[in-house]
C-alpha cells in the first residue's frame, strides 16, 4: 500500500471546530479497518495536539501520513513556542488561562497525553517561531 497523506488547517482560537481534523482522521483509519485500539491512540494524541494549537498557537497545520505499519501525525504551528520543553512535558504543568481551564482543558495533560498515547512523540520548538510535534503510532 502506498502511504496516504492528509492535510488539515487547524483554526486558532476556534473551539467549535477544534477536533474536526482528528475526527476525519479517525473516520479514515476506521474505514481502513485499522485496529480500534490503534485508532483510538492516534485520535487521542492528535486531538490533544489540535487543542494545544487552538489554545496556544492561533492554529496551524496538521499533516497525517498513514503507512502500513504506522501513522505519523505532524502538528506544525507558528505560535509563541515552548521555552522549556521538559517542563511542558511534566504532567500538571500548564500555562493555559482560566478561560481555557473552564472549558475542561489546561490541566497540563496535553503533551503528557500525546506522549502516552503514541510510540514516539517528538517536540521541536523555538521561542517566537513556533512548535512542531511529531507523533508516531505503530499499528498492530
Amino acid at each position: 500500500m502506498e502511504k496516504i497523506h492528509l492535510e488539515f488547517d487547524v483554526d486558532g482560537r476556534n473551539f467549535v471546530s477544534a477536533g474536526t481534523a482528528t475526527a476525519k482522521v479517525k473516520a479514515c483509519l476506521k474505514e481502513m479497518g485499522i485496529n480500534p485500539d490503534d485508532v483510538k491512540r492516534v485520535a487521542i494524541a492528535m486531538y490533544e495536539g489540535e487543542i494545544n494549537m487552538v489554545i496556544h498557537a492561533n492554529g496551524g497545520k496538521a499533516l497525517v501520513d498513514i503507512y502500513v505499519d504506522k501513522v505519523v501525525v505532524k502538528l506544525i504551528d507558528t505560535g509563541k513556542g515552548i521555552a522549556d520543553i521538559n517542563l511542558a512535558m511534566k504532567p500538571g504543568y500548564s500555562t493555559a488561562s482560566d478561560d481555557i481551564r473552564q472549558l475542561g482543558f489546561g490541566a497540563g495533560m496535553g503533551l503528557p497525553n500525546m506522549k502516552k498515547h503514541s510510540d514516539e512523540c517528538i517536540v521541536e520548538s523555538e521561542v517566537g517561531k513556533g512548535t512542531t510535534v511529531t507523533l508516531i503510532t505503530n499499528l498492530h
Binding site: K40, I44, L103, F105, M109
Partner: protein, 108 residues
C-alpha cells in the same frame, strides 16, 4: 440498558437522541476532558457537568453511547444542534453525578 431506558431512569430531558436503542455497556464520570478522552470506555454513558462544545468532540472520539449532562446544567441550543448533526446521544438530568450513577448502577 438502552440509552432510552437510561434517560427514563434519570427523568432526563432528551436533548438529542440519535440512537435511543443503543446499549449502554458501562459508565464513566469526569469533567476534565483530557482525562475523559483517554479513559472513557466505548459505548459507556459519560456523566459530566461540562456543557461546552468540546464535549461533542470528546464524545465522538471516545464513541461513548450517550453524554449525560448532570445537575440540570444549561446546554446551549447551538450544542444541541451540533449533537444532531453529529448524531450524538445527549441527555440532561437534574440528578447530580453521584446520584445519577447510583440510579444507573442500582438497575444494572
Amino acid at each position: 440498558m438502552t440509552v432510552n431506558q437510561l434517560a427514563e431512569l434519570l427523568n432526563a430531558n432528551k436533548l438529542n437522541i440519535a440512537n435511543g436503542e443503543k446499549e449502554v455497556a458501562t459508565g464513566y464520570a469526569g469533567d476534565l476532558l483530557s482525562f475523559v478522552m483517554g479513559r472513557a470506555p466505548e459505548d459507556s454513558a459519560w456523566f459530566t457537568i461540562m456543557t461546552n462544545v468540546n464535549i461533542l468532540a470528546v464524545a465522538t472520539l471516545t464513541d461513548v453511547a450517550v453524554v449525560v449532562v448532570c445537575e440540570g446544567a444549561t446546554v446551549d441550543e447551538s450544542i444541541i444542534e451540533k449533537a444532531k448533526q453529529q448524531e450524538i446521544n445527549l441527555i440532561k438530568t437534574e440528578y447530580d453525578v453521584f446520584n445519577a450513577i447510583k440510579r444507573y448502577l442500582d438497575e444494572t
